[in-house]
Amino acid sequence: MLTYIVRRLVTAALILLGASFLVYLLTAASGDPLAELRASNAPNREQLMEARSNLLDLDTPAPIRYFKWLAGASQCLIPFAGTCDLGRNTANQPITDALGHALIQTLTLVTAATVLAILVGITLGIITALRQYSTLDYGVTFMAFLFFSLPIFWVAVLLKEFGAIGFNNFLRNPEIPLPAAIGIGAVLGIVAAIVAGGEPKRRVLTGGIVFAVVTAVLIYFSVTLWFKTPGLGPVVIAIAGVGLAYAVTLLTAGLKNRKALQSALLAVGAGVVAYFAIQPLLNQATFLMIVLLAVATVLVGVAIGYFVGGYDRGQSMRAAGMTSFLVAFLILLDRFMQAWPTYFDNSRVRGRPIATIGATTPNIEGDFWVLSLDSFTHLILPTSALILISLAGYTRFTRASMLEIMNMDYIRTARAKGLSERTVVMRHAFRNALIPIATIVAFDIGALIGGAVITERVFSVRGMGFLFFDGIEHVDPNPVMGVFVCVAITAMAFNLIADLAYSALDPRVRVKA
């Protein structure tokens, strides 16, 4: 195993060296850095060309410049020496600084999108696999391919037009006309009927209930101008919590396990009590506090499960832990909604909360809740755009993998020995279906850093993609190399991790040392 890793690392280093040399030469040969000045009629044209040549060291041939760059870059290998030198860009900023900033920008942009796309994609993939060739399956497949084939700049422009500008206009006077409420209710009702599956009677019933509930809620929102002062309140949290408790128990332990259900319901009760207890504390929230509270919540849930016990203590603990986490999330959501009017009326926001560009409102001031809301309103559009287009891959891949597993002999055996369908799907099939997914997820994380170039441009976020383009535009290899090194190292590292994870997850695959 160790020999294998070492061998892989050595190959990776060699590939990196060779590739970096190639990329450097290609960038240097990609154009004429003085092109713009050659056509200039400035009286000091020569002087400017001289300065530019000095800045980019154009008198040195590109291959030799590469080794100069390499000498600086190799100092990055010495840990903690702080001598890392990747050169400077044309604005005379050290590339290491520029990279650090760009990396954060890009990660902020793509992390949430990638995580959500993975979660939603895998879920949809499994559901469609279990309902192969149903209306739902065809519907999801159609939508996934539709979004997959849309160009992101176009999706982004549409999202900005309707999701930001249109929605902000709506927020000025958030009244939903009755026909709109009924229309939205009808659409969601139909979707629910399709998703529900089963007998036609059951479908119609589900669709009807969803239609009625959604329409009623929308009318309620409109009458109370809910969008101006949104909130859930403890009642909604309690009701939704009980629903979640049942759902979580269903998935983790099965409703037959009464102890698990009791633990989950208890967790909801604790959550509702905590809702009141914790409000004053939340007013002084910081990010760290939220994280600690989340951990504490899960621990409390697990403890509830432990004390309730039952014949399978683990299941109770899991059900209660997950339920209390979800209820805590609802409480958090409610608190964000409470902060909404303050954010909405902030003089910097000027009543138009959903943003089309950037990552924050410049100069915004406020507490944790307002600042976090500000990040959300800025990230929601690019995140949605990225999720829409990357959903297809995960959905299709999971569906295929799940279908393959579901047709395996051991699944038939599991069914034959009388296991419940829940156990078959969740325990036997799902886990094994995830193995190949682990590989793509690892690859995708590797590609994540360099992957959102167009999205960055449309949403005016200056991340890795911008740095790369800027370098190409100025025919300046330094920024390009910086981006290249980062992307290449992550890609290779995650490739290795994917291979190792595969062998760890799948007993059929063994790493030969």
Partner: protein, 587 residues
């Protein structure tokens, strides 16, 4: 289902919650937030590039955005208005021509004018500006690769390089520049630059006085006998790159202001915020309390940001689409202004090859459909645009109308195929036209010219090259005619010989006229504005008479302004909408 005790407890809890919520309502307590920002009086302006340096005069820092920031955070002796006139700022100080022979100009800063750290602006600052922008100390020889260039300024040093070491006025607030020979652009040759006391300290000297002494005792650089002055080098190195920063430096002396605004915060590569400089009284008074600048590279994104209220003033790269989107915002109260910029596209004919014969050049010029080109390319951006009729004047300049009347451009106002055929007398010369084929405007212009010229019998060869290749072939004789762009300096005449003198560095087509050369020699030593205009008009006529080629159109700039503001006005000059930042007001 049979509910156990625990489930009942949950039920009780839920009921309790219901009861409690009846008291609390579902809005919860209103959370307290920090005080909201200042009401009103702020504008958000969109720039294409990100800020990178507080010293826009250095070669690295010389970009639009850095220049704009410098313009609103640093006062000077003059500014350029939207009619391209030089406006003296007498509240800052005065400068005047003391004598014509030798040309002597005296600059005096008013008393009470100071940097935002309280340090008075005085002769030391003026001296540093002169040292940095004159190249006085440089002894570099570009060909031999010897010697040192101390200050890598982006400015043209040819004017100030003519001056001797300035004389510092007795009151320590003035310097007097004496030129070795008259210099036409003396009025814009010199202005305030960086704070000398900061450059001195950061450059390793004790104080501003030490810097003045250092500058005094260092002789003029001699490229024949180069000698490195380590002390000066250190100072210059700091001037060259010490002010480069993409974030707000922790040391406030690096972003001192002497103008109406001062930088308050910078968010790297995203935005920066400026607030009013409290001390500032030495110039037009600003109205807005705060200006935020956001960097948006793509034009559609800027338009949508304006539509969504995230930006108030934008000046995106104009295209037909952008303009259409902006027009759609008129209902929202957005004003869109199209204006001619300093840059203009032109067709140049080589004075060699098939065009050696003046008649062929004239014939070709007669076939160029200038009105058509304007109609097809720029009309959709600016309905008022007309073909440009002068190589040296722009329509916003006072002298333009007069010069155009007499320069002979009227002969080429419309396409004259018959006239061209007559001049060609049956010849069918093969003409290779070089242009940037990655620029759609140039491609369109080429197609229109090709179509029209073919009618007169010219055989046109498409010599279009890619974006990074075309400029390298300028002047190498691989083509007969070329379409590309130049930038009129707007103010000053130093740019004229660069293009049109027979030895000019940007004279790519081999235009040579002894008479014009003589006039240009005279022009660059003429210090009187009226006489300069006169000479320039004469040169303009000679250029047309010699069938140099034709100017096509001014490129169009676009600015869109939210209805929250009055007083915002775009200028063709370098500073765009920023030129009258002090007039911006909230309605």
């Amino acid at each position: 289902m049979r509910f156990g005790r625990i489930s009942k407890a949950v039920g009780v809890a839920a009921v309790a919650a219901l009861a409690l919520s009846a008291c609390a309502g579902n809005t919860g307590t209103t959370p307290t937030s920090a005080a909201a920002g200042k009401q009103g009086g702020n504008a958000t302006v969109v720039e294409v590039n990100a800020f990178s340096s507080f010293n826009q005069g250095s070669a690295d820092g010389n970009s639009d955005i850095n220049g704009n920031i410098s313009y609103i955070t640093r006062s000077g002796f003059y500014y350029v208005d939207d009619k391209l006139n030089i406006v003296h700022n007498d509240k800052f100080g005065k400068y005047e021509k003391v004598s014509d022979d030798p040309l002597t100009v005296k600059y005096t800063v008013n008393e009470g004018v100071k940097w935002s750290d309280g340090e008075a602006i005085d002769a030391g600052d003026l001296l540093l500006s002169w040292a940095a922008n004159s190249g006085y100390y440089d002894d570099a020889d570009a060909d031999a690769k010897t010697g040192t260039t101390y200050f890598t300024t982006a400015a043209d040093t040819s004017g100030l390089n003519l001056t001797e070491f300035p004389e510092i006025g007795d009151d320590g607030r003035s310097i007097t520049l004496k030129y070795a020979k008259p210099f036409a652009d003396w009025e814009i040759a010199f202005d305030m630059d960086m704070p000398a006391h900061v450059v001195a300290k950061k450059g390793g000297l004790a104080d501003e006085k030490a810097l003045i002494d250092l500058l005094k005792k260092t002789p003029r650089g001699d490229s024949k006998a180069p000698k490195v002055n380590a002390e000066l080098k250190k100072v210059a190195d700091f001037w060259n790159s010490g002010f480069d920063s993409k974030t707000l430096p922790s040391d406030p002396s690096l972003y001192l202001s002497s103008g109406p605004y001062i930088v308050k915060s910078i968010e790297q590569d995203a935005s920066m915020t400026l607030v009013k400089n409290k001390d500032y009284t030495w110039g037009p008074e600003a109205h807005l309390d705060e200006i935020t600048i956001r960097y948006i590279g793509s034009a559609p994104a800027a338009v949508q940001a304006l539509k969504n209220g995230e930006a108030d003033i934008i000046a995106p790269q104009p295209s037909a689409d952008t303009l259409e989107q902006l027009k759609a915002l008129e209902s929202q109260g957005v004003t869109t202004e199209s204006y001619g910029e300093l840059a203009y596209d032109h067709l140049d004919l080589n004075f060699s090859g098939p065009f050696k014969d003046k008649k062929v050049r004239e014939a070709f010029m007669k076939t160029v459909p200038r009105q058509d080109i304007v109609d097809k390319i720029v009309k959709k951006l600016d309905p008022n645009s007309k073909p440009l009729d002068s190589e040296l004047f722009l329509p916003s300049q006072a002298k333009y109308a007069d010069a155009v009347k007499n320069n002979g451009s009227a002969n080429y106002a419309s396409v004259d195929i018959a006239g061209a055929k007559e001049l060609l007398a049956g010849a069918t010369p093969e003409i290779k036209i070089m242009y940037n084929k990655d620029n759609p405007n140039r491609v369109d212009a080429f197609s229109l010219i090709r179509e029209s010229a073919a009618k007169a019998g010219f055989k046109i060869v498409d010599g279009g090259l890619g974006a990074s290749d075309w400029s390298g072939t300028l002047g190498d004789g691989s083509y007969d005619a070329t379409i590309f762009g130049w930038i009129n300096s707007g103010v000053g005449v130093s740019g004229v010989p660069q293009i049109f003198k027979s030895t000019g560095g940007s004279n790519f087509n081999g235009f040579k006229s002894a008479e014009a050369d003589k006039l240009m020699d005279e022009l660059i030593v003429t210090t009187d504005k009226g006489k300069q205009d006169e000479l320039t008009a004469q040169i303009d006529k000679l250029i047309w008479d010699e069938a140099y080629g034709v100017p096509l159109f001014q490129t169009v700039g676009v600015a869109a302004i939210s209805d929250r503001f009055t007083g915002v006005k775009s200028s063709p000059g370098q500073r765009g909408v920023w030129w009258n930042v002090w007039d911006w007001q909230v309605k």
